[in-house]
């Protein structure tokens, strides 16, 4: 999965290197998770990684509990599962364990009757996001998961199947290997905000290509609604188990061969070559391997402010993911291989809103007929900010860049609202050019600099009165998350108090394994229902004033 995504991102960015002689990642195997944990769970001196990422993941990260959400098998809580099982039964229409051979949930049934096949397919669709079982792994892992389900979304779900890179990535010289060569071994380029955002968005927004899609039928019977997704804020709440390049500081092999080398590096390089890394893929240092363009232009990406970069680069990737998801679904519907309409594709709040007796004083300006389910607005917001970042915060240039996107967006919106639920063929055809122009913007913002002045400029754009007129709740929250994240990079002290301390928009996420997404619905859904765009406009101007204060 991550390889496919990473490859796609690379090819769309236009620098896919021919890796024909290298091993095909499709055959890459998953390794036992304990192999990861035995290093990453222990306190070890390391100048590159935070010492205990696996411990952070195991103790504080919800992803580790993703499968327990479906069926409580946590030995520490044997009785807590009844409610979860009931909800999953309601969503699926059958017991989760009906698809498994036994109550230990170790493997799916292999029976060939239609009923079993249907149940197994439905459960697998859940496991794409609730465990480590990407579509790409199906070839070798049709019924037995590649990684124990109980581990939830574990290391290799994001970092890629480890068989081929497990050993080499522990070598010091691995730092000087170009990302494409690592990708060819199955190692996902999570260092790149674009690749990372595509990974996260494939579940948190959805991806038809990866079979990660929550259909409305599931929402309607109890799957919690996916909230709008802002990468930097979600990472912070996750919490992160890595250091940004800026935080890593001056690590060994950063830009040059380590001075203290006692001959180990040469052995490393030989080992890398034996693993399938071609010699030309090993550079002088980490920076040269990862940021060749930056070296030429004099930028220093290792000094980039990580939250700002993730917010903006992921912002545009998330919009692209949203558009591709709709386009891919519409393409299936156009071929009659998927049911149409699929209500989960549209803005939830278009239907699920309070029916007002009085006309609201301000409303989102729509360019399309009212009364027909439109696209969600929130994925656009940070892509628009990305246009400013790509334009160096020159408003005219940013407008020009955004207008290019907006032309495609207008066509896509028209295809979606030309009739109720839209025309799937027209939506399919309009989605691709829009997604492509967004991918180009993503590649462009990835190359830009994220220094303090960029963060400050981004905050000013986000708080401009013209940036977001009469937003809906999710767009406002997306903006507020971005402001909070970017202000974090600048260590703005007042940021704690913005948006009534985040309460009015329910900015807090249920981080940690003990806080429940279901419980948090009681916070953010009422906040969405009560949301007043005029309040937000006032609040934004307060934030702007605070940011401008010395």
């Amino acid at each position: 999965m991550m390889l496919g995504r990473a490859l796609r991102s690379l090819s769309s960015a236009g620098f896919l290197v021919a890796l024909a002689t290298w091993a095909s990642a499709a055959s890459a195997q998953y390794i036992n998770n304990t192999l990861c944990v035995q290093c990453h769970d222990t306190v070890r001196e390391n100048d590159f990684c935070p010492t205990i990422p696996a411990a952070v993941w195991a103790q504080d990260d919800k992803h580790a509990k993703a499968f327990y959400l479906l069926h409580e098998t946590d030995p520490a809580h044997p009785d807590a599962g009844a409610a979860k099982r009931a909800l999953v039964k309601q969503i699926l229409g059958f017991e989760l364990r009906d698809a498994f051979t036994n109550e230990r949930y170790l493997q799916l049934k292999r029976d060939n009757d239609a009923e079993t096949i249907r149940k197994v397919a439905a459960v697998k669709a859940c496991l794409r996001c609730h465990a480590t079982w990407p579509k790409e792994a199906d070839q070798q892992h049709a019924h037995i998961p590649p990684v124990s389900l109980a581990l939830g979304v574990s290391c290799q779900a994001c970092h890629g199947p480890g068989e081929k890179w497990d050993r080499p990535h522990a070598l010091l010289a691995w730092r000087a290997v170009i990302p494409n060569a690592k990708v060819a071994l199955g190692f996902a380029d999570c260092r790149s905000p674009l690749a990372k955002a595509r990974l996260c968005a494939s579940c948190h927004v959805g991806s038809i290509a990866d079979e990660k899609f929550v259909k409305h039928e599931w929402y309607a019977v109890g799957h919690p609604p996916l909230p709008s997704f802002e990468l930097a804020s979600f990472e912070t709440h996750m919490p992160v188990h890595w250091k940004s390049l800026r935080e890593k500081g001056d690590f060994r092999f950063r830009t040059a061969h380590p001075a203290d080398d006692t001959g180990d590096i040469a052995r490393d390089i030989e080992a890398l070559k034996r693993s399938g890394i071609p010699p030309e893929a090993i550079k002088a240092g980490y920076v040269q391997a990862n940021f060749p363009a930056a070296i030429a232009s004099g930028n220093d990406p290792t000094a980039d402010l990580a939250m700002t970069k993730d917010t903006i680069a992921a912002g545009v990737v998330i919009f692209e993911t949203y558009v591709r998801q709709i386009g891919d679904y519409a393409a299936q519907a156009a071929d009659n291989s998927a049911a149409w309409p699929e209500l989960a594709l549209y803005d939830c709040m278009a239907c699920h809103h309070e029916l007002r007796r009085r006309l609201p004083t301000s409303t989102r300006e729509r360019r399309n007929p009212p009364g027909r389910p439109p696209l969600a607005d929130w994925p656009q917001v940070l892509a628009k900010l990305a246009a400013y970042q790509a334009a160096g915060y020159d408003r005219e240039e940013a407008d020009r860049r955004w207008n290019l996107i907006d032309q495609q967006l207008t066509l896509f919106e028209r295809a979606t609202t030309s009739r109720p639920f839209g025309d799937p063929k027209a939506m399919r055809d309009a989605a691709k050019p829009l997604a492509d122009v967004l991918a180009a913007l993503a590649a462009d913002v990835d190359k830009t600099r994220y220094d303090r002045s960029a963060s400050a400029a981004a905050l000013l754009v986000l708080t401009e009165p013209y940036f977001l007129r009469s937003p809906d709740y999710s767009s406002a929250r997306q903006t507020a998350w971005a402001i909070t994240a970017i202000a974090g990079d600048l260590q703005v002290p007042a940021a704690q108090r913005f948006f009534e301390g985040g309460k009015a928009l329910s900015l807090d996420l249920p981080s940690g394994p003990r806080k429940s997404v279901l419980d948090n619905l009681h916070n953010w859904l009422p906040a969405a229902a009560k949301f007043d765009p005029q309040w937000f406009e006032t609040e934004i101007s307060t934030v702007r004033a605070a940011l401008k204060a010395p």
């Binding site: 309607a220 004083t361 009364g371 109720p420 859904l525």
Partner: protein, 504 residues
Amino acid sequence: MLPAARAIRLTAVTGVGILFAVGPVSAKDFALDEPASGTAFVGSLSCTSVSCHGNPPAQHGPGSVWQQVYARWHGSEPKYHDGRKGYDPRARMERHLGDPHALARQRMTEPRFQEVLRRYSTQPDGSRDNAAMLKCAGCHDPMANESPSALQSVEHGIGCESCHGPAQNWLARHYALDASRDAMITLGMVDTKDLLTRARVCASCHVGSSENDMNHDMIAAGHPPLRFEMASYEALLPAKHWDDSVRRVRQPDYEVELWAAGRLASTEASLMLLQSRAKRAASTVASLPAAAWPEFAESNCFACHQSLEPKSDSSLSPALVARRAILPWRTWNHALLDQALSLGAANIGNSPQRLLSLGDLRATMENSLVPDADETHRLAGEASHELHLRLLNGQSAQSHGSTWSLLLSLEHSQSATWDELCQHLAALVAARRALQDHGAVSPDDLQPISVREKRIAAALRQKPAEWTQDDLRAMDQQLQMLTTDLLSASRTSLPAPRSTERVK
């Protein structure tokens, strides 16, 4: 002129007020029939001479209601509420006296209306679309579509001839001593004394027609959804310009008959509207302007417009349990149709029979999120044809003792949607008014009944989008109790239904 009034004028020559009484109109296409030629509007001012319908209102001098028609309709000058005109898009025109229909034209100038029109128009420059405004005028100022110059006058609105028919041919005759009802109908006057005819005139806008199609696009732009109920609407008119007191003494079931006429006309209009919507959406008809399909205004509002906040299991609708996303067909317009039909059936000695094709139509409408437009067109045509035949066969709502029949039939009826609950309450209120006209309820009995009525009405207004199945069932029980109260209050004094006798 309102299209229904047109159709009624066309057919009223037979005196029965049935849409298909004349002309070679096929059942499938009746919704799109042509207006008759040869009659013309003369304008409301022709009716308002002081010696005719233009006497000053009662507080300024003596006169019968028929002499004060214009004053009662016109009322006082409107004032703006909820904001200043020209400044606040919420500003709304209101007045305490007069018929709201008189304001319909002026309402088109209020900022709220213009804002809804702007949102509906979706012009790139934010302007208002002229074609859309003419569509609005179909109901808000029917004269505007007849003569463009009438748009200049704020006086028209929904004026005399909008409901009573174009007066050119009957204006000079209708006050003659020897002018018979049938003769006037022949000349194009709409027989509004006939309750079904009257209800059809109202339903042509308040439910809609192929020409006056107030759809979900307009609702989303800000137009209130249409929720018509004849008896309550008439009761709510602040200054009715007709006097029904004598009729109510002679015909104490009047309120129930009005209710039943409203139900029949609403069903009829909604079926024809659905038929025209489906026809325009159907693949086989290319010459008509395309309609939005599915038309969300045909569905239960609260099927989609519900809070996302988690609810208990019991709130899951049967559709969700069946794991199929469907848009339940809206029941507002045909709720209690069986009861309305059975009142007439008793009159001609038939046992009440359901409208058979309605079930097939519902099944088609709810078969998918995008119902088959051709099939919907066919079935809506069949259903309205079946209803027409029933009405042609003399199945009228007017029968002595219909209040009693209605209450008995409501005793065991179940309402499953909020729409049906509202209609159920409206039916009981109409029955209560009829019981009062019968003199069948003592003031002691009336008091608790009114309290329960008000409590139910207040509860029905409380966030219907958030009602669970349990809430709906509980409300249904409340309505059953109200029915029981009404029956026990009137059981001793009401006559048993006399199926063959008809009160003129």
